[in-house]
């Protein structure tokens, strides 16, 4: 069976010539047909075709195994527009674009297909010299992490100028002048002075601007941006996106934008390619992809966004985890996770089906033969959407205070001087609610969580009470034990939060061992197995090591580890931000389910406002160690008062191209506050709505709130 299937997969194995002339002819035909569909969109593009990837196959040798990262994928890049490639980690989006500039890792190779650029097939390039003509000059690239993309020990000026000098053979002086121009162009003030500075003296956003300036130094025809904003804070992200957009227009270059964030896609993309398991499964204009997705994966992805969910109900979630690319994939790679899959999805690789001239997808659903089934699915979804009614907001009238935080201050020593990561923060957490703490990286949100969890002790000022008793400062053994059983934490990075060298059994039992919370060995195993089932994993996982699991599964193991202690209160420290979109919904649903079943209270720490809105009852916004605003969820979204909150909200990408294109960023400059004489205070301005400001500002806020 398998063998037969293999020969029926012309797309996957285009390089392999079939012995069977009929099958060969069929494959050729299919290929011609696909070319035809790809070509249809040509007239809808702004400019001519620049780069054309055809049936590219990329394989990696990984620990003796063969991994097919790109499974025969084609893509066209046209001049002067932005093409976004969306996909989750491991989908191959990054690897795919790396082939455009010959930057595959050493253990990877292009194993088939062509890459046409200026009439040459770059897939055949073998020497460095050939690539030197392309890299930087014709095709440039911006990496994800601006913190590591720049050489820390050379001035940014040198790093930009060297490109100009090398590619254009210009003198040092000329290159410098040009560099300063570039810096100006990417929005760096005082470029003459900045020219001589080192990357360490720039903030993340500024560095990314420098990286972009370097990339565009040679006026490349194509700029590949590999998740350029993922590592940035929302407000900065919005600015960088704006910059890329404006540069793209100004320089009339093509931008290939790789991201997993659909909101960003909506913001920036003219065209979108959705990639799953090493293959582009859907392609179309941004509007088409967002408004009328056809591939089940694209659909599911969009539906699982928390922005689109209804509060109190489960988010639509994609089951399971992405497939292993070490194995031969038969049929539609997404089929095993697709609850509505058809039998054919498991049997045969779907070909490309055109939707419009500019939109195509690889799904059997578009086959004329599946028309009726497709219609029934559409109808069902519409029905579900209609029935969703948001739950009533949390009732605070009789709420019992579980935790009070008063004037919490956390100090850190940094190079001899101490700085306050958290500065005089006060708030309450009521039993049964979800309080979200939102802020940018470095704002102190995680520190608050850890201070409550007593991970920081010596450097903590102020007071925290739990169920009425003080938990800061020295505690007896008994009290500590009680706290360990009643308060638990979930961590951000599922890769780092599980001990790689311990089995799942030990990881989950760790707390049980610590306080001997089981009667017998069988009892302990039963407890572990129960909790595993509860978080949606099977009990057979008990004897495995963490590395055998995917990110989502690991995060669920982390949750199980906390829940097995039966806590009342959970600090969830960015539990979903490191997860892929398709996995986030699972974890959010799980957290919500656990909250209901076990009447938990959450302190939810996040930087992603979209997910926060879906799950929280109240939101606290933190900026540079100060809480600036705290209000019930909907109140905050409807009537943000503090300028920082407003800026934050305005910057949040929303997965709708229409709203994203028209969105206006509200800038926030901390210098606008004049706290020199009039000291700010934390005030409850309307019932339940707290804000940080001085008397003058408060007055303004009050007026605004009333209006």
């Amino acid at each position: 069976m398998k063998k037969k299937l293999k020969s029926m997969e012309p797309a996957d194995n285009s390089a392999v010539l079939s012995d069977d002339p009929a099958a060969q002819e069929e494959a050729d035909l299919l290929r011609a047909y696909e070319q035809e569909i790809f070509a249809r969109s040509e007239k809808h593009h702004n400019g001519p075709l620049l780069l054309s990837a055809r049936d590219v196959v990329v394989r990696f040798n990984l620990r003796g195994q063969e991994l097919t990262a790109i499974r025969s994928t084609s893509l066209d890049v046209y001049e002067g527009e932005t093409l976004a490639i969306v996909g989750e980690s491991g989908s191959g989006k990054s690897v795919f674009t790396k082939t455009f500039i010959g930057m595959l890792d050493k253990n990877g190779r292009i194993d088939g297909g062509e890459l046409f650029f200026h009439g040459e097939d770059m897939a055949k390039y073998t020497t460095e010299e050939q690539w030197l003509k392309v890299r930087g000059k014709k095709i440039a690239m911006v990496f994800q992490d601006p913190m590591t993309s720049l050489n820390p020990v050379r001035t940014i000026g040198e790093q930009i100028a060297e490109v100009i000098m090398w590619h254009f053979g210009k003198s040092h002086e000329e290159a410098k002048a040009e560099t300063i121009e570039l810096l100006k162009k990417v929005g760096i003030h005082d470029p003459e002075k900045r020219y001589k500075q080192y990357p360490g003296e720039f903030s993340g956003g500024m560095r990314q601007r420098v990286v972009i300036a370097t990339a565009i130094a040679c006026r490349p025809e194509i700029l590949i941006c590999d998740e350029p904003t993922t590592a940035l804070d929302v407000t900065v992200q919005a600015q960088v996106l704006d910059l890329i957009k404006s540069l793209q227009k100004e320089l009339k270059m093509s931008v290939v934008f790789i991201t997993h964030d659909l909101g960003v896609v909506a913001n920036i993309a003219d065209w979108v390619a959705v990639m799953y398991a090493g293959k582009i499964v859907e392609y179309g204009t941004a509007n088409e992809i967002f408004k009328s997705p056809e591939h089940p994966y694209t659909k599911a992805l969009l539906r699982s966004l928390p922005q689109l969910g209804t509060k109190g109900h489960d988010l639509y979630s994609i089951q399971g985890t992405p497939p292993s690319l070490f194995k031969q994939i038969t049929g539609d790679a997404f089929a095993p996770r697709n609850t509505d899959a058809m039998k054919i999805d498991f049997e045969e690789e779907p070909p490309v089906f055109p939707v419009t001239d500019t939109h195509w997808a690889r799904t059997w659903l578009l086959s004329p033969q599946a028309e009726s089934y497709r219609a029934s699915l559409l109808a069902r979804d519409a029905e579900q959407q209609k029935n969703a009614v948001p739950e009533t907001p949390f009732d605070y009238t009789n709420a019992e205070k579980l935790i009070t935080v008063r004037d919490l201050t956390v100090r850190f020593k940094m190079g001899g001087s101490t700085f306050k990561a958290v500065n005089g923060v006060s708030f309450d957490i009521f039993k049964g609610e979800t309080l979200s703490l939102v802020g940018e990286s470095g704002s102190g949100k995680t520190t608050i969580g850890r201070a409550i969890m007593r991970i920081y002790t010596g450097n903590v000022g102020g007071e925290v009470t739990f169920k009425g008793s003080k938990i800061t400062g020295k505690l007896s053994r008994q009290d500590k034990k009680k706290l360990h059983m009643e308060m638990q934490m979930i961590f951000q990075d599922p890769m780092a939060s599980l001990n790689e060298r311990a089995k799942v059994d030990y990881i989950i039992s760790e707390g049980l061992y610590n306080y001997h919370l089981y009667e017998s060995e069988e009892d302990r195993v039963a407890k572990v197995e129960n909790i595993l089932t509860e978080v949606g994993l099977t009990s057979e996982f008990i004897s495995r090591f963490p590395h055998e699991f995917s990110g989502g599964q690991r995060q669920r193991i982390g949750i199980a580890r906390s829940l097995v202690m039966n806590p009342d209160f959970l600090v969830a420290d960015e539990p979903i931000s490191a997860l892929d979109v398709s996995i986030r919904a699972q974890v959010i649903n799980l957290l919500n389910k656990m909250k209901k079943e076990r009447s938990l209270t959450y302190l939810f720490i996040a930087h992603d406002l979209s997910a926060v809105r879906f799950i929280s009852d109240r939101i606290a916004v933190i900026h540079k160690g100060h809480l600036v605003e705290l209000a019930p969820c909907e109140e905050l979204f409807a009537h943000p008062l503090h300028p920082y909150t407003k800026a934050l909200l305005s910057a949040v990408p929303y997965p709708d191209p229409d709203s994203e294109r028209n969105k206006v960023l509200i800038p926030y400059d901390p210098a606008m506050h004049d706290y020199s004489s009039d000291k700010p205070v934390w005030t409850e301005i309307t019932p339940g709505h707290f804000i940080y400001g001085n008397t003058k500002e408060l007055e303004g806020y009050r007026r605004e709130a009333e209006a």
Partner: protein, 311 residues
């Protein structure tokens, strides 16, 4: 920054003082017999021995001795050697010996750095090829083979082949070549080894990939980015070679009859020449701590990320 440097100097001073004090006290625990020349142990009677010890001031309380030593030190009097160079002022000895060792040491350090770094660069440039294999072979050889074997060979055979003098003469530059090369052999290996290791580490960094993506040729990426970063950790170690420069090598100085400081400390300790040991330890401690300090300064100089502030 000034404050930082002052603070560092102060802390270094504390370390030096502690080191010195420890050594000073350790020396006072040495057996009294060690102070006598051989014939004295055999022939001299109790009274003669005591007279001898008393003349050296060794019968006083250690703290009294310490006080005397420190007082003289501040007067600029380093004292006289006791047993190794009887009665010779230590200052004279140091003035005679350090320049010789330091001169050869300096050039060998220079050779070590230049040749070592070039070799490391070559090994990275031709990674997994013959250049790398040769370099690795050399490093292995130097680390594994007892140094005396090849040092001996260099002195006797190489000098024959190239018609170079067998021993060092301060007025024959040709005779400096072999000692300098011999001294540099292990540091060449050291620099090559670590440069290679650091460069290989750096090669995986994002900024190196970004530099490649910028379209710079590999050679330039290696030179301007990888090398530039890889020498940062090395530069911190560089000044610690200062100590090697002035402390010399016993074996090489013996082979080439170099009148330097090599093995001076060991000899002084074995002969229990307290005065000499104290001064040498003090000097070496100061130099080695100075080396660490200079290493930090140099590090801050080559690495803009490092700011010289407290802690």
């Amino acid at each position: 920054m000034t404050k930082y440097i002052l603070k560092r100097i102060l802390r270094s001073l504390v370390t030096v003082v502690i080191v010195f004090f420890v050594v000073f006290m350790l020396l006072r625990f040495m057996p009294l017999n060690g102070y006598f020349p051989d014939e004295m142990v055999k022939e001299a009677d109790e009274a003669t021995r005591m007279a001898y010890l008393r003349n050296l001031g060794l019968l006083d309380h250690p703290l009294v001795q310490l006080g005397r030593f420190v007082k003289n030190l501040f007067k600029g009097d380093l004292g006289r050697s006791i047993t190794v160079y009887p009665k010779v002022p230590i200052a004279t000895l140091l003035v005679e010996k350090i320049p010789v060792t330091a001169f050869l040491g300096f050039w060998s350090m220079l050779l070590g750095i230049v040749a070592g770094l070039s070799m490391g660069l070559m090994m990275v440039r031709f990674r997994s090829r013959i250049g790398d294999t040769l370099g690795n072979g050399y490093i292995m050889f130097v680390r594994a083979v007892p140094s005396l074997l090849y040092l001996f060979f260099i002195q006797i055979q190489i000098s024959k082949w190239f018609n170079l003098p067998l021993v060092y003469y301060d007025d024959k530059p040709l005779s400096w070549i072999l000692p300098i090369v011999s001294l540099a052999l292990s540091s060449i290996a050291w620099y090559a080894l670590w440069l290679r290791r650091f460069m290989v580490d750096e090669e995986n960094q994002d900024y190196v990939k970004f530099a490649t993506v910028k379209g710079l040729p590999k050679k330039q990426v290696l030179k301007k980015h990888v090398f530039r970063n890889a020498i940062i950790p090395l530069s911190a170690y560089l000044p610690s070679d200062l100590l090697n420069i002035i402390s010399g090598s016993l074996v090489i100085e013996t082979l080439y009859a170099i009148p330097g400081t090599g093995g001076l400390l060991t000899t002084a300790i074995k002969n229990q020449d307290n005065n000499l040991v104290q001064i040498l330890v003090l000097m070496y401690a100061v130099v080695s701590i100075l080396g660490v300090f200079l290493g930090d300064l140099l590090l801050a100089f080559v690495d803009p990320r490092i700011k010289l502030t407290d802690d």
